[in-house]
């Protein structure tokens, strides 16, 4: 009998924030990865990740990719092209590279434009997990457990690369799904990017008023939950808005039109239409919470 070793010998995590550090912790906890090195701009985050056991070593530069059979780029999405460009000269022939960004058309485009023929080694991934807390200190081996991870494979990805990507996320406890990058960006614009922009806009608008303090003083639990995502990392969400600007723009325009309709109902004191709207929303949300909208 030959004991099966870990699936991955050496993981390089580029960007040791919440997602990258949690991925390293989860793979290690699953025994799926023998060694992890980390590369990042924040020395403090790197030290936190090493102290937490996520990293065995802090890498000096992109050359560290030479020894890796798995690379996860978990930076804000706007940095993916420059990170891939730095990694490109050092990627071995058997490496699997993934990103973990919230937008996928830009990841596909970056891989093709920067990696050329080597784009076949890049499998775009989006773990639908995280939250308003960022940084290695918030990381957890359980972050992806029972969460969905969307892969948007390239036509040039060999099936073996996609299978390895699936296996890595499944080792983290995630449910892995495949979609096109176009479908991904359209869906996430509606159920994630739009709510983030709305929450940011509401808090910023209230904060800008002369009586902001008097307003915040009466904000309660509903406001706290509604605006939780407005505590998310501003640079990360700037990048998402830029990468998915067309689909988010469509969603914002659509919501603006819906808002105008609702405003007219309120101003016309149309109680029946308002109650029906509210009841439809509540029923749909309860159905969602009950798990009735599976992919």
């Amino acid at each position: 009998m030959v004991a099966a070793g870990p699936r991955f010998a050496q993981l390089l995590v580029v960007g040791v924030g919440l997602i990258g550090t949690s991925f390293a912790l989860a793979l290690k906890a699953a025994g799926a990865c023998a060694r992890v090195s980390g590369l990042g701009r924040s020395r403090a985050n790197l030290e936190v990740a090493r102290a937490a056991g996520a990293l065995d070593a802090i890498a000096d530069g992109a050359e560290a990719a030479r020894e890796a059979d798995l690379v996860l780029v978990a930076t804000p999405v706007g940095q993916l092209p420059s990170v891939l460009a730095a990694l490109a000269p050092h990627l071995g022939p058997q490496v699997l590279v993934m990103d973990a960004g919230s937008t996928k058309r830009d990841a596909v485009a970056a891989a093709r434009s920067v990696l050329g023929q080597n784009a076949a080694r890049f499998v775009p991934a989006h773990p639908i997990a995280g939250g308003e807390k960022s940084g290695a200190a918030a990381a957890s081996a359980a972050l992806f457990r029972e969460r969905r991870v969307v892969l948007t494979p390239l036509a040039e990805n060999p099936p073996e690369a996609i299978a390895r990507a699936e296996a890595a996320w499944q080792a983290c406890g995630a449910q892995v799904l495949r979609m096109t990058a176009e479908a991904h960006d359209e869906v996430l614009a509606a159920v994630s990017h739009l709510p983030h922009v709305l929450a940011y806009a509401l808090v910023a608008d209230i904060a800008a008023r002369p009586n902001a303090a008097g307003l915040f003083a009466f904000a309660a639990g509903g406001f706290r939950d509604f605006t939780r995502i407005a505590s998310s990392h501003p640079g990360l969400w700037r990048d998402i808005c830029l990468a998915n600007h067309d689909r988010i723009g469509v969603e914002l325009e659509r919501f603006g039109a819906e808002l105008a309709r609702v405003t007219a109902l309120v101003q016309a004191r149309d109680g029946e239409a308002l109650e029906q709207l509210f009841a439809r929303a509540r029923a749909a949300r309860e159905k969602w919470l009950a798990g009735d909208f599976e992919p």
Copy 2:
């Protein structure tokens, strides 16, 4: 020495939902009320409230107000005029009547129009507590603990009536504040009513799409918290939108204009302005969470 008895001898709660039942439980737990009777349209809620120890008796009708020295009307705000009209012939000379609604100008107007000179016995109150769960089954003696309760007294309220109202809510563990009804409705429109309408509108809009199931399938924790208030009671929020339609209309129009500005920033890919907006929102929210916006 004379032992001080409970401050209130007999409380009548009209509307034994989350707020009314929690008020009865809290006053009893504080030893501030000797006996509680309940009046409501839902026999099931009344029985739940009695089984929970909130009610000593289920009242047959508005005549029960004759024996009460404290009456709390905790129905949806649209029912306040008819409830006050039913109670009016039975109110004793020493009774204190309060409501618990989320809008206050309509409560003031209802008291004056229905109670006439007896409006002096009515002190409008809004406990800023609750949540998307409704009904007696969700009630708790701790619901108002460390929460704010806004009183919007009438000019005709004797100071003694206001003091008794304050004492009742303080016995529930709440921090009691006074505002004008106009200021209350303006403030709550911004930090409570607007977010509720936005959350309802977002969920209803997504639910109405042909691909709703495919969208909800990828909604995650951010969506869940952002839309929690869209699980609130539709009839209750219809009433609030009708009672405060002018202020909510102003807030909706204001937010629509803000949304149009943000939409333009996204479509113009103005990353710098977006990041500044997001950073301002996050900073304000962190300041609020730190308790830096006290009234």
